[in-house]
C-alpha cells in the first residue's frame, strides 16, 4: 500500500504505528493539546502569527544552496543544501518550538519543559520561551552536557534552567524520561515541548506539521529555481523531525527518492549504533509504537553515536510507517564517515555542518557520486556545527 499523507488517524496511528502508551495521568493533557492544536491549525490568525515569526525572527525561508565545488569534486549529481543551519539558533528545531510556544500561550500555560540531546532543541525552546516570557526548564543527560557545553551555556544565557539527568545512559532517552516525569506532576500548568516526531499522539503529527515548512519551501525553491523536483532528498534521522518535515511535502511525489540516514555508530553490534529503523524492531518506547532498539525482554538498549542528536534508541512512528510502506529508504552512516563529511563540507564549501547533518551529507556524497551531473540531490542541512567543534577537537586529541 502506498504511503498516505492523511495520517495519523484520530487515534494517532500511522498505519499500525504511533498511538498513546503513556500513564493515565497524562491522557487528559494530551487530549487537550490535540484539541487545541486542531483548532490552531484551522485558525488563520495562528498561522499568520507563526508565519510572521518564522519570517522575521527565524529568517525564513532558509536558502537552498547549490554546493558547486563539492558537486564538481564528486563528479556526479548536483548537491543542493537546504540551509536550516542558517535559521536563528542554528538548526531546524526553532520551527517547532515557536509553534509549540504559541500553543502554550493559547492554552494559558506559563511553564514549559523540554528534553534535549545535542542541545539544539533545548536552545530553541529556551529561545522561544525568552521571546514569549515563559518559564523554561530543559532536561539534559550529563553525558550530553559534557559534549555540548556551548549549547548549555546558551540555554542559561537565555534564562532557561538546565537540569542534568544522571540516570541510565545519561543521554537523550533519559532526558525524555525525566521530562515526562516532571510533566506527570505538573501537567495542569506546564506544557511539554517535545522536540522530535516521537512520543504520544499528538506530538508526532504536530512536530511534523511545524517542521513541514522545510519541505514546502524546498519544493517551491526547486520548482522556481530549477524548474523541477529533485531526483533525491537526503536527511538524517534520530527521532526524525528534520527528515519528517523535509519528506512530508514530497510523499506524494513518487518520482522523488527519499532517503533517511541513521547513525551507524561504530558497528552493527547492539549498543554500538543508533540505527533503529535498520536494525531495530517494532515495540513501545516513550509513549509510541514504533521501531525501537530493545533486547528480547523489552528493555531499551544502549545506543552510540558520535552525534548527541542522533543518539536515540527509538524513532518517530511516521518513519516506521514510511519504512513499512517503502516510501522512504533508510540507511546508515558510521561515525568516521560522518566526521569525514563534516571536514569535507567545511573545506569545500565553507560550511561547518552539525554532526547530525554530517550523516546526511556523507550519504548524499556517496549517492551523488554515482549519479549523472544533470541529476539533483537535496540534503537537509539541519544544523550548524559550531556546537560540535569542541567535541570533534577532543576526539582528535586537540586541547582547546
Amino acid at each position: 500500500m502506498p504511503a498516505s499523507t492523511h495520517v495519523p488517524d484520530p487515534a494517532g496511528r500511522f498505519g499500525p504505528f504511533g498511538g498513546r502508551y503513556v500513564p493515565e495521568t497524562l491522557l487528559h493533557a494530551l487530549e487537550a493539546l490535540d484539541a487545541e492544536y486542531s483548532r490552531a491549525r484551522n485558525d488563520p490568525a495562528f498561522q499568520k502569527e507563526l508565519d510572521g515569526l518564522l519570517a522575521d525572527y527565524v529568517g525564513r525561508p532558509s536558502p537552498l544552496y547549490h554546493a558547486r565545488r563539492l558537486s564538481r569534486e564528486l563528479g556526479g549529481a548536483q548537491i543542493h543544501l537546504k540551509r536550516e543551519d542558517l535559521n536563528h539558533t542554528g538548526a531546524h528545531k526553532i520551527n517547532n518550538t515557536l509553534g509549540q510556544a504559541l500553543l502554550t500561550m493559547r492554552m494559558g500555560k506559563r511553564r514549559v519543559i523540554a528534553e534535549t540531546g545535542a542541545g539544539q532543541h533545548g536552545v530553541a525552546t529556551a529561545t522561544a520561551c525568552a521571546h514569549f516570557g515563559l518559564d523554561c526548564i530543559v532536561y539534559m543527560g550529563e553525558e550530553d552536557i559534557r559534549r555540548q557545553q556551548p549549547n548549555v551555556f546558551s540555554m542559561r544565557l537565555l534564562g532557561a534552567e538546565v537540569r542534568p539527568v544522571a540516570t541510565g545512559s545519561r543521554t537523550l532517552r533519559d532526558a525524555i524520561n525525566e521530562a515526562m516525569r516532571d510533566w506527570m506532576s505538573t501537567v495542569e500548568t506546564t506544557h511539554y515541548c517535545l522536540g522530535s516526531v516521537v512520543g504520544p499522539h499528538p506530538f508526532p503529527r504536530m512536530v511534523r506539521d511545524f517542521q513541514s515548512v522545510i519541505g514546502r519551501e524546498t519544493r517551491m525553491q526547486c520548482l522556481a529555481r530549477l524548474g523541477r523536483l529533485p531526483e533525491a532528498i537526503v536527511a538524517c534521522v534520530g527521532g526524525g523531525s528534520n527528515a519528517a518535515g523535509m519528506f512530508f511535502p514530497f510523499i506524494e511525489d513518487e518520482a522523488v527518492e527519499l532517503v533517511g540516514v541513521e547513525a551507524g555508530g561504530r558497528s552493527d553490534r547492539l549498543g554500538q549504533h543508533a540505527a533503529t529503523l535498520l536494525l531495530g524492531r517494532p515495540g513501545v518506547l516513550h509513549g509510541s509504537f514504533s521501531y525501537v532498539l530493545q533486547d528480547d525482554d523489552g528493555q531499551t538498549s544502549d545506543v552510540h553515536s558520535v552525534s548527541a542528536g542522533l543518539d536515540y534508541p527509538g524513532t518517530g512512528p511516521e518513519h516506521s510507517y514510511w519504512k513499512e510502506t517503502g516510501r522512504v529508504a533508510y540507511t546508515s552512516v558510521r561515525d568516521d564517515q560522518a566526521l569525514a563529511a563534516f571536514d569535507r563540507l567545511a573545506r569545500t564549501e565553507g560550511i561547518i555542518p552539525a554532526l547530525e547533518s554530517s550523516h546526511a551529507v556523507a550519504h548524499a556524497m556517496e549517492l551523488a557520486a554515482g549519479r549523472r551531473p544533470e541529476e539533483i540531490v537535496v540534503v537537509c542541512l539541519s544544523g550548524r556545527g559550531e556546537k560540535d567543534a569542541a567535541e570533534v577537537g577532543r576526539l582528535r586529541g586537540i586541547e582547546m
Binding site: Y21, P23, L27, R181, G298
Partner: protein, 266 residues
Amino acid sequence: MSTIDTLFKNLRAKGQKALMPFLTAGDPDLDFTAAAIRALAERDCPLFELGIPYSDPIADGPVIQASYCRALDRGVTLAAIFEMLKGVARQVPAPIVTMVSYAIIYRQGLAEYVARAKAAGAAGAIVPDLPVEEARPLADVCRREDFSLIQLITPTTPPERAVRIAEHTTGFIYYVSVTGITGERTELPPELVDNVARLRERTDLPICIGFGISRPEHVRMLAPVADGLIVGSAMVRRMAEAAERPREQVLAELGDYVDELLAAMR
C-alpha cells in the same frame, strides 16, 4: 471468578481492607524478593504487587527507578522472575499481580506474556503505560485467560472517562492518589478521600489506592474509603538495605513496618 475477585469478596464480607506491598523483583536479588513475599504474607498481607524492572519507567520516582536499575544491572531477566514467582506463588495464599510496562508485554507477545505470567502463578497485571484506548488487544487476551487487567484512574481523569476505565477493568481499580510519580509523600491531597468516595458511587469494583502512601496516618485516612492500599517506595527503600545489612534484620524491620501500617488499618 478470578482469585482477586474472590479475595476482595471475602475481605468485604469480613469488613477488612487489604494492605498490598509493592516489591521490585530482583533487588537486591530474586531470593530476597521471594523471602520478603513469604515473610509479609505471614504478617497478613493478602495481595502483592511485583514490579517487573523496566529500563524507562516514566511513572516512577527516584526510589523505584533506582531499584529497577540495580536489578537490571545485576542481570535480572523475565525468565528468572517468572521462575522465582513460580516457587513463591505456591507457598503463599496471597494473589500476586505484576506491575509491568507494555514495552515488555509487547516484546513477549500479548498472549505469550499472559500465558507465561499465569503459568508462573501471577493473578493479573497492572500496566502503567497502557491507557484504556490502547488496552483492547491485551484486555481480550486477559478476559479469555481469566487474568485480571487492573487499570489506573488518576486525579486528572474526568468522571465520565473514569466510568469507561472501570468498565474495562477486572480485579480492582488502581486509584492513583496524586498527580505525579511514585514516591513517599509527607502529605496526601486533602481532596483524595472525596474523589475516591465519588468514584465508589460509580463502580462496584474494589478500589485500591496507591502512590505516596507510606505512613500510618495515610493508612488511617484512606482505609475507610478504599478496599486496599498499595505501599511501594517505602517498601522498596527498606528492601534495598538488604544489599548491605543482614537480611534477617531487614526482613524483621520490614515486618515491623508492615505491622505498624496494618495496625493503623484496623
